[in-house]
Symmetry: C2
């Protein structure tokens, strides 16, 4: 048996393997899309059981660093990703858990020319036509958020599809796209006139925005999404002593 124990004395084998794989992942070959060594090979190479390698790999899959596909192999996810799929609908879910019913004020699907910034994100030619979905959603009382999504042409999303169903289900069943990861940015901005009108607040009022880049299981961009939340719409924070 091989003992390559570097730092810790008796670290579990699968954690040692995890470390090894973590450094492997950094190698440019794999970063640029080369198929990762198959688990059986890694196991043989290290002289350990396949299952031990599997638990190590599983951890990295769970972290969104590796993506696996049955019958195909394992690949390194290209970008640094921040959010897991199960974080996906956190905002909506959170609101639903608070007992608020979500209703759609407006749902608009159209084909538009990709603005330059979007073209750059998608890595496509500017003015390529992409599907744009605008949603204005809220509770019975008032609109709470404005969401705008664009889909990469690769996904073959059509404007005729039924977007009233949950988006990830539509993409899976109709477009054969499996979303798994997203990168997001959150910030606070002051409402523009346009946003203020949509969300029925005053221009300059605080707005919470979230920009998401959504990736499929094979690491390719599926969707770019911007959401604008009313500052008073999401959270009922307790303000403490100040």
């Amino acid at each position: 048996m091989k003992w390559r124990i570097d730092p810790d004395l008796t670290l579990p084998l699968h954690q040692q393997v995890e470390k090894i794989i973590r450094t492997l992942v950094e190698k440019p070959e794999y970063q640029s899309g080369l198929m990762f060594p198959k688990e059986v090979d890694i196991a043989n190479e290290l002289g350990i059981a396949r299952n031990t390698v599997r638990t190590a790999i599983a951890k990295l899959v769970q972290e969104g660093i590796l993506v696996r596909k049955k019958g195909v192999g394992t690949m390194v996810v290209r970008k640094k990703l921040l959010t897991r799929l199960d974080h996906w609908f956190s905002f909506t879910k959170e609101m639903e858990e608070k007992g608020r019913k979500i209703i759609n004020y407006r749902l608009e699907v159209k084909l538009v020319k990709a603005p330059p910034e979007l073209a750059e994100i998608f890595n496509i030619k500017p003015d390529t036509r992409v599907v744009e979905i605008t949603r204005l959603r809220g509770d019975e009382e008032k609109p709470l958020l404005l969401s705008i999504s664009w889909f990469h042409p690769r996904t073959k999303v059509q404007i005729e599809q039924d977007f009233t169903r949950p988006l990830y289900k539509v993409l899976e069943e109709e477009n054969n796209v499996y979303v798994t990861l997203s990168r997001e940015d959150i910030s606070a901005i002051a409402a523009t006139n346009d946003l203020a009108e949509n969300l029925q607040i005053k221009p300059g009022d605080p707005i919470l925005t979230r920009n998401r880049t959504v990736y499929s299981s094979d690491g390719q961009i599926v969707e770019y999404n911007q959401v604008f939340y009313r500052g008073d719409g999401i959270s009922y924070s307790v303000e403490i002593g100040r």
Copy 2:
């Protein structure tokens, strides 16, 4: 053309077990702290291998629904939790990844009487003394965030401790507290005079706030934390065509 077959017919065993455990978890006995059945028992009860039960449980642990302790057993985490530990420092990390050096403008540690709202969250008597840590952090140019933390008396955090090190390390090594989960609320507000002065912006400017309740591995509250970010400090969102 292929259509949908009944999904549950040949679902993997461990996923079926996962479902079973998910419903088990809902039972009030477990919600209120009763030790969860041990994996060997579950395995015998269902007549399957221990390993299969383990993979099912592992999934729920990963989701933060269950907490396990070697030699003790498995417990249901009491509250609905939103964030995983690895999401913990996302904001700070994100900034660091963007190449910005974070510097501390102010670090203040004091013993204060718990305000009523905090006392309620901590479930302690009002005016109980708790440790409060205030941090004003930012880049070379300007402060970016104001963070205020309070620690539950149970943690035995002392004002003499060294809080310049990463907080979770301090808690682990000095207080024997292992933080694993947090519940958070994010919203946008307009800057109060006090906040505006601290963050060097104008009153009324948008601020991103995040309120976190931090739990230890045994499901008890460790820390309550409020952070106020400059609206323009966190993200460099690409604004698209509007």
